[in-house]
């Protein structure tokens, strides 16, 4: 037993951490990231990859709900850590890891939170669930058909998650994604129940918008889709026009509110065809009760942070790491010259990279002036301490217009290249860094 405990301790010595920074917790995130870098703890990119879920600051109700969903997707062993202030970062992380290593305590009940067992249980459990629902002819479950679960990590509202089985309506109710998903395994195989709105999904990026027979979310009717006729009492897939002139199936997705390098709390709702986003719509969670924007005191640090997050999305880990280190050095002020040198080096490296220009150039040019790359280069200038011109602010609607018709990857780069913070949902100022 002792040996097992030791192996466990050794194996989990560097847990992977998923950071969720509530609005206003930016500087807190910086210090946590610096601490993680010191410890060599890697950052997770998806809940399945996570050991420690670290929530920074105080999320609003909608974001808290999203974090709960996220938490439900984290496999055991797992631990959730909440960090409120800069002071106790190291302590909280240590406690989190210590709890993670202890096997007995990593049960799902510890938080008193209803944990969707079917997501986390092992295969046997899931099978039991399937059978437990007792729907005859419920084959589809096992054939991997139905609901697109986990479409977005921490996908906001998780609506339509009925454990019962009957009608659950699609997306138009609040939160992000996870439509067609029910933990009990019931509802989304709607054909058996004939109940409420049912949005079954199909894989091909095709949104089987199963129209409900009972009422409920008549989504998709207004997309001018065609009905393929009815089969087994259920209408067939809805399709939508796409840029290639093929009317293929569409899938409704919600990106956000928690993704790597993504402004936490931002939710992008769109229809996905293949990997092309259409009908994009951007919203902030907790839009009504957002705290006053934290004025970034240190524009150079802020630029480096944004640069690091963009580089995360662009998949350039070494440059992102250097940008973070430079940011921390600038913020802490312990070794300013060194930090400045690093900041200049990384800024030069990024702004002069021809591969980055080749791969990320030309995204989002349609809107106001420059493309994503120009904005990133502007940050590089800011990061190396040069004065830059102010950019006009960009509202969420403008961003959504840019995202329209982009692939998921381009959309991610585009959003990462913008300075979106929750306050811009109301007044839309881009911070003036001079």
């Amino acid at each position: 037993m002792d040996l097992i405990a030791r192996v466990r301790n050794w194996a989990l010595a560097r847990p992977r951490v998923l950071l969720v920074d509530a609005p206003g917790a930016t500087t807190l995130r910086w210090s946590v990231e610096a601490e993680l870098d010191r410890r060599g703890w890697p950052c997770a990119v998806s809940p399945a990859d996570t050991d420690l879920l670290v929530v920074l600051g105080e999320p609003g109700p909608e974001l808290a709900e999203a974090v709960d969903v996220l938490w439900s997707q984290v496999p055991e062993p797992r631990r959730r850590v909440e960090v409120q202030g800069t002071g106790d970062v190291a302590v909280a992380l240590d406690q989190g890891r210590a709890a993670l290593v202890r096997p007995a305590e990593s049960g799902t009940k510890e938080d008193g939170r209803p944990s969707p067992a079917s997501l986390l249980s092992n295969d046997e459990d899931e099978d039991a669930h399937d059978e437990g629902m007792g729907h005859a002819g419920h084959e589809g479950m096992d054939h991997g058909g139905g609901g697109h679960e986990g479409m977005d990590h921490g996908g906001g509202g998780h609506e339509g998650m009925d454990h019962g089985g009957g009608g659950h309506e699609g997306m138009d109710h609040g939160g992000g994604g996870h439509e067609g998903m029910d933990h009990g395994g019931g509802g989304h195989e709607g054909m058996d129940h004939g109940g409420g709105g049912h949005e079954g999904m199909d894989h091909g990026g095709g949104g089987h918008e199963g129209m409900d027979h009972g009422g409920g979310g008549h989504e998709g009717m207004d997309h001018g889709m065609h009905h393929g006729g009815e089969v087994a009492g259920l209408p067939m897939a809805m399709t939508g026009p796409d840029r290639d002139g093929l009317e293929l199936d569409v899938l409704k997705v919600a990106l956000g509110p928690v993704l790597p390098g993504w402004p936490t709390g931002l939710v992008l709702r769109a229809e996905l065809q293949g990997d092309v986003l259409t009908s994009a719509e951007l919203t902030w969670l907790d839009a009504g009760i957002l705290p006053a924007a934290q004025q970034q005191s240190d524009s150079q640090g802020a630029a480096l942070d944004r640069l690091a997050r963009f580089l995360d999305v662009a998949g350039w880990p070494t440059a992102a790491r250097d940008a973070r280190r430079a940011r921390d050095g600038v913020a802490e002020g312990a070794d300013r010259d060194e930090a400045q040198r690093l900041a200049k080096a990384v800024a030069r490296r990024v702004s002069r990279s021809r591969t980055l220009a080749w791969t990320a150039g030309g995204i989002g040019r349609r809107g106001s002036g420059g493309d994503a790359l120009d904005r990133v280069r502007r940050w590089c200038d800011m990061a190396s301490g040069q004065p830059v011109e102010d950019l006009p602010a960009m509202s969420l609607d403008e961003v959504a217009a840019l995202v329209e018709g982009a692939e998921v990857g381009s959309a991610r780069l585009l959003v990462a290249s913008l300075d979106l913070s929750p306050v811009s949902a109301v007044s839309a100022p881009e911070h003036l860094h001079a």
Binding site: H226, T239, G245, L246, E247
Partner: protein, 105 residues
């Protein structure tokens, strides 16, 4: 076991593949599924060609060449099938054979 018996077993398998493939090609409504049926038939041809080479005439390359031809036919069938399906779908939003009965001449 004699060579003839093994040959007959392998050929029976090939015949099974051809039979299943024929059923699929004739019964399925979706174009792509019809193509899968045809692929199965050709799969049987592959197998029969290989068995013929091994058991009947290994000194001649003809059976091997036949298998190569069958493979190429498969590739062509797939490519053209998908091209036709895409064109068809683009024009009419359908992918089922029965919906195109007006093409009957």
């Amino acid at each position: 076991m004699t060579a003839e018996l093994v040959l007959q077993i392998v050929l029976t398998v090939a015949a099974g593949l051809i039979g299943v493939g024929l059923f699929g090609a004739l019964s399925q409504q979706t174009i792509v599924m019809v193509m899968m049926g045809l692929e199965l038939v050709l799969n049987g041809v592959l197998l029969a060609g290989g068995a013929a080479w091994y058991f009947l005439a290994p000194e001649l390359p003809d059976a091997q060449v036949l298998v190569v031809v069958a493979l190429v036919v498969m590739a062509v069938e797939m490519a053209m099938g998908f091209a036709v399906t895409v064109a068809f779908y683009r024009a009419r939003q359908l992918d089922m054979i029965d919906m195109a009965s007006d093409l009957r001449g």
